[in-house]
């Protein structure tokens, strides 16, 4: 399954104003892995995702998807295999109906309308919003918008799903629903989030970033329980395993 692997080698990115957002990242993500990327605000998480999708091109270093290096020439081919869900679903939903939004990518890839309809139906079924297909995206609730945004990416049947803060601004039920959707996606998942409980539940591997550098990369159960590491990176233990606020008993134990 080497064609689904994602590799970053000595990745650097400097913004035009001179800010060094990414400083020499190296990692390899294999097929089927679910990886959480965490870090404090400004650590470089969102920049990294934009680099992985080729929205930004690295100042130095390279990204390899499968065996193909990400360059301007290979961008279109690589983007067909990777799908990214933006932090704000309003940025992702721009058509007049949910159906047209979900059909946008399959139509761009030249599929015939029959296949497009099938892809849209499958994607909407996966996220459970078939009943919303004729609604205008801007009239949906936060959770519905998020589900629709995920469906827009699933309709391309990506090998790698990249998500920027998928549970941000969602109520508990909607958050749980989005988590169930992500759980059901059995290809590679890369998720950046401040929702450490979600990362703890969904991602077996976690990469911690600080100032554009990898501070830790390993099993989520080890990294998220390492209080010293988390404090050092401007983070905290996931709320579900912090000490009980009433009796003070540590759930970690």
């Amino acid at each position: 399954m080497s064609h689904h692997k994602l590799e970053a080698n000595n990745l650097h990115f400097i913004y035009p104003d001179g800010h060094k957002a990414i400083n020499g990242l190296n990692f390899k993500i294999h097929h089927g892995e679910s990886v959480g990327i965490i870090g404090a605000n400004g650590a470089g998480k969102s920049t990294l995702l934009l680099l992985l999708m080729g929205v930004l091109l690295p100042s130095d270093g390279e990204i390899i998807v499968g065996d193909i290096p990400l360059t301007k020439k290979t961008l279109s081919m690589i983007r067909q295999r990777m799908g990214m869900v933006f932090q704000n679903p309003d940025d992702q939903l721009f058509m007049s109906t949910v159906y047209d939004d979900v059909a946008f990518a399959p139509r761009n890839y030249g599929l015939d309308e029959k296949e497009v309809a099938k892809r849209v139906t499958d994607a909407l079924d996966m996220v459970g919003i078939q009943h919303l297909k004729d609604r205008a995206p801007f009239k949906l609730s936060g959770g519905e918008k998020r589900a629709a945004a995920i469906a827009t990416v699933l309709s391309t049947q990506p090998d790698i799903l990249i998500m920027d803060e998928p549970t941000a601004s969602l109520d508990p039920k909607s958050r749980r629903k989005v988590m169930r959707i992500l759980e059901s996606f059995d290809h590679t998942k890369i998720i950046t989030s401040h929702d450490l409980d979600m990362v703890y539940e969904l991602c077996k591997r976690t990469i911690v970033i600080k100032n554009g550098e990898i501070v830790a990369d390993g099993a989520t159960t080890e990294i998220l329980l390492n209080e010293e590491l988390m404090n050092k990176c401007g983070l905290e233990l996931p709320p579900t395993i912090q000490s009980c606020p009433v009796c003070g008993i540590s759930k970690k134990a």
């Binding site: 934009l50 999708m53 929205v55 279109s76 983007r79 067909q80 799908g83 990214m84 933006f86 704000n88 309003d90 940025d91 992702q92 721009f94 058509m95 007049s96 109906t97 047209d100 059909a103 946008f104 990518a105 139509r107 761009n108 890839y109 309308e113 497009v116 004729d134 205008a136 801007f138 009239k139 827009t152 990416v153 391309t156």
Partner: protein, 269 residues
């Protein structure tokens, strides 16, 4: 502030109306575009002093409005929005053109006749354009433009501008809400902050538009907008177009109200 929220919603309302399934909605987008263009050409082709002869052309928007089940108030509200501009354009005519003309036996100054004519013509044409969008939708309309071989970049520009209106409105709504919450006793926006407010709006809208564009590119957008529409022209479409064009020609060649009046009064035309 609620005015702005209403305005944003009203843009969505046009899209909602375009998704209805009436007889007019089911017509091919090209048919509706061609009929509307023909209507516009016939309306503006009337003489600048013509008033009575224009009235039969009111039949077109009334019939489309009825068949498409579009609320009349929806159209009237939008017309009211545009009418001050039309009045602004034509209001000097009565002051500049004093010569008297005769319309159906009534003496009226040429300035007033041209003003009323401009008022009617713009009202008719704006109504027809709104009806076209409300019964076709911008996506299908762009498909019709592409059939007519209108350059891709122009069609795309039109379509994205239409989409970005809502982006602009949303950003403006948020800025104004934030402003009004911190300036509760003010009516409107103080002129001292107009500059920074507009600057903020442009930067925020630009950034938002850029993110939307990124999202489009990540889903395979390369400049060709494909909305999945591929309908064939039907016999119905041809009949609809021909009947209307025939009616427009008759209305243009004969002053129908005068003919009807003469028939009733028993006077030869």
């Amino acid at each position: 502030m609620s005015n702005f929220i209403n305005l944003v919603n009203s843009i969505g309302l046009l899209d909602d109306m375009a998704r209805q399934k009436s007889y007019i909605h089911k017509l091919h987008p090209l048919t509706k575009l061609a009929t509307t263009l023909a209507y516009l050409i016939f309306v503006v082709s009337f003489d600048r002093y013509e008033i009575i002869g224009l009235f039969p052309l009111l039949l077109y928007p009334i019939i489309v409005l009825t068949l498409a089940d579009i609320p009349t108030t929806f159209i009237l509200k939008r017309l009211l929005f545009i009418e001050p501009f039309i009045i602004g354009i034509g209001i000097l005519n009565p002051l500049l053109d004093h010569h008297i003309i005769n319309i159906s036996g009534f003496a009226i100054s040429g300035g007033w006749a041209t003003f009323i004519s401009i008022f009617l013509k713009s009202g008719f044409t704006v109504t027809a354009a709104i009806l076209l969008i409300a019964t076709t939708g911008m996506d299908k309309l762009s498909y019709a433009f592409r059939i007519l071989k209108i350059p891709r970049s122009f069609v795309l520009q039109l379509l994205l501008t239409y989409r970005y209106i809502s982006v602009l409105m949303e950003e403006l709504g948020q800025i104004l809400t934030a402003y009004s919450l911190r300036a509760p006793n003010q009516k409107g926006v103080n002129h001292k902050v107009w500059g920074s407010l507009v600057g903020q709006l442009i930067i925020r809208t630009f950034e938002r538009a850029y993110r939307v564009y990124q999202a489009m590119c990540l889903r395979g957008f390369t400049g060709e907008y494909n909305n999945g529409t591929s309908e064939n022209l039907k016999f119905n479409d041809l009949i609809y177009f021909l009947i209307w064009v025939l009616f427009f020609i008759i209305a243009r060649l004969y002053n129908i109200p005068m003919v009807i009046g003469s028939l009733i009064m028993g006077v030869g035309v």
